[in-house]
Every structure is written in C-alpha cells, then in structure tokens.
Assembly symmetry: C2
DNA sequence: GTCTATAGCGCGATAGAC
DNA sequence: GTCTATCGCGCTATAGAC
C-alpha cells in the first residue's frame, strides 16, 4: 500500500496538482478525478480545500524551523552552519518537491494559519541572517552586503523544488556538496 | 496622467493584483474594483482575462530574449557577459517587479501563447548555458557542475521580483555590482 | 466510504440602455 | 465608456441513500 490513510492520499495527490497549476486553479473535482472518486467523497476524509493547503504548508514550514534551531545551536563555525542549511533544504525538498511549490507560491492563500506561517518564516530568515552576519564578523565570510548574500542564497535554496524533480538519478550527497561550493565559493576561477 | 490608455491602466492594475494573489485567484471584479469601475466596463478595452495575462508575460519574455541576443553576440569575455545578464535582470525587474511575478508563477495559465513562451524561455536558458560552458572551457570559471551553476544563478535572478520592491531607495548600479560579486565570487573569504 | 443530487454562490463574458 | 442586468457555467460544500 502506497498510502497509510485516505487522507494522506488526498494530500499527496493535491500536492502534485497544486504544484502544476497552483492552489487556486485546482478544483476539488480535479483532486477527486485524479484519485478515481467523486468530489463529494473527499469530504469524508477532509473538512475543506483550505485544510489540504495548510496541512501541506505548515508541516513543511515546521520542519525548517525545527531543524534551523538545531543548526543554530550547534558548535560549528558559520560556514559549516551554512553548509548544513544547504543540506537541510536539499533534504526536505528532495523528500517533498511538490509540497515545496505550495510553500513557496501558495502560502498567501492560507487563512487561519497565515499569521503562524509568517512568524515561522520570519524566525527562519532571522536565524539565517544572524549566521551570515556572525560569519562576516568572525572573518569567515567576505565583508559585503549581507542582505544580498541572504537574498541570493535563500532564493536558490527556495527554488530547489523546480529543479530537483528533473534530476531523478541524482546523488543527493554529491549534489549538496556541489551546491554548497557554488553558493559559498562562487564560480570565478 | 499616469497611464497613456485605459488598457494600459487595466494591465498595470492587474499586474499588481496578480503578484499579490496569482492570476487564478484574481477576478475581473477585483480588477475593476481596484480601478473604481464595474467589471463589464473592462471589456470595452480588453477581450478577456487571458489577454491581460499574455500581454504581461509575453512582453517581458521578449525583452529578455532580445537583450540576451545582444549580450550573446558581444565581444566581451564570459564573465563580463554574466555580469551583463545580472544587469539585464536587475534592469527589467526594477522596471516591472510586479509583472515578473506573473512571468515566474503564472506562465502555465497561458493558452494560445504557452508554446511561444516556452520556446522563448528555452532559448534564453540555452544561451545562458552556452556562456557558462564557454566560461569553463576558457578557464574563466572554475571546473564544476555547470548545471548547478546555471540553476543557482538563474534562481537568484528570477527571484529578484520578490526582493527589489522591498528596497525602494536602492542604488540600482551599486546593487547590480554587489549581486554580481556574490554570484560570481561567492561569499567565502 | 462512495455515491447522486443539489444548495448557494461567484465566475467570465455579453447585451443593450444611456 | 460605463452602467445594470443577466446568461451559462463551475465552484466548494452538504444531505442523505446505499
């Protein structure tokens, strides 16, 4: 059996459709059709379309926040912390590339959990910022515009969901190292 | 007068709303309300909601393709070509940050122009790839995974629309240089 | 747990008055 | 060029049979 519960199957099916066309363009009929049932039957397992979205997004956002806390409190230097963050994004994204599309593109359609999501994201970005700024202070990173560094790294890490699914036979460990290299050392010879 | 034509006003208003909530979640009634008129009145100036989307996306995509051709055919070395590409993205995005959201997130809702858009994007990425690979070949760039380099740079450049509008007082020239530095030389000391 | 039927509403778009 | 009125359809969600 691929799914433990019918609810889990609904969420996984929705996740794929949400990535392809976005939350607003996917209907309950689309989700039901992809599962071979009628839309009304979905409501035996979930309460609303909105609930599907928040299940997808919040569980991912909490994984990031929780793991960031571990990285933040470790005793490594700041460069190694950044490498751990790269590994974290590759790990979560490769385990749920479709869900990451909703996290990135459909968070604004959250209702009850919107504020909670925004707080999780803000906390995450703050932790990231502190590592970058500490890295500059400790002379591990070049003296540069820290906001540009944060923007550049986070943009790339947040876009992994577009790219990873296209590389089916990927060696995750090798890729993580190559990506860390490009992000930290650049591409200039 | 802020807008030359009523059609232009419709497109600019839609562009802002599409960025906030995405094409599918914005209604003709929303667009009309933002302009202080009724939805039916919009149809005196445009033919369909779809037409608004394709006007936004195709004009931006064509700007990229056209300027990429100029960069490609210039006599500069590959690193300087990459810097020009960074400048191109900063330029187009700072002139139309809202439209870039549609280009990135709502292209899949194009109908008649979907294939044309996909061709423009593919051509652009191919030109980008050739510059990176030539750079490695000519020993301007480190020997590394070129796909990872392309992914990383393009992800950052494509995310500029999220970031640029938050920095109103930005010195565009200075920012372009800082971003080029981070993308090409990395952040490692 | 899935079905048919349908409520209640909002959608994109059109017709025609002014 | 904007309005009111409305068409025809699709949406989320519910009721109740099996």
């Amino acid at each position: 059996m691929k799914y433990k519960t019918r609810k889990e199957e609904i969420i996984q099916t929705s996740t794929i459709l949400f990535k392809q066309r976005g939350f607003s363009a996917v209907t309950m009929r689309d989700i039901a059709k992809a599962m071979g049932i009628k839309a009304a039957s979905l409501y035996n397992h979930i309460n609303s379309k909105q609930e599907i979205l928040s299940d997808i997004i919040i569980s991912l956002a909490e994984q990031f926040t929780q793991q960031m806390k571990v990285i933040k409190n470790s005793n490594e230097n700041n460069i190694d912390k950044l490498k751990q963050i790269v590994a974290l994004h590759v790990d979560i994204t490769s385990n749920n590339p479709y869900g990451m599309a909703s996290l990135n593109n459909d968070w604004m359609h959250l209702e009850n959990e919107l504020e909670y999501y925004l707080k999780l994201r803000k906390d995450y970005e703050n932790d990231f910022r502190i590592i970058i700024e500490k890295g500059i202070e400790d002379s591990e990173l070049v003296k540069g515009n820290s906001e540009v560094m944060i923007f550049s790294m986070l943009s790339t890490l947040r876009s992994l969901y577009i790219w990873l699914p296209k590389k089916e036979d990927l060696d995750i460990q090798k890729f993580t190292n190559e990506l860390s290299l490009v992000l930290i050392n650049g591409i200039n010879k």
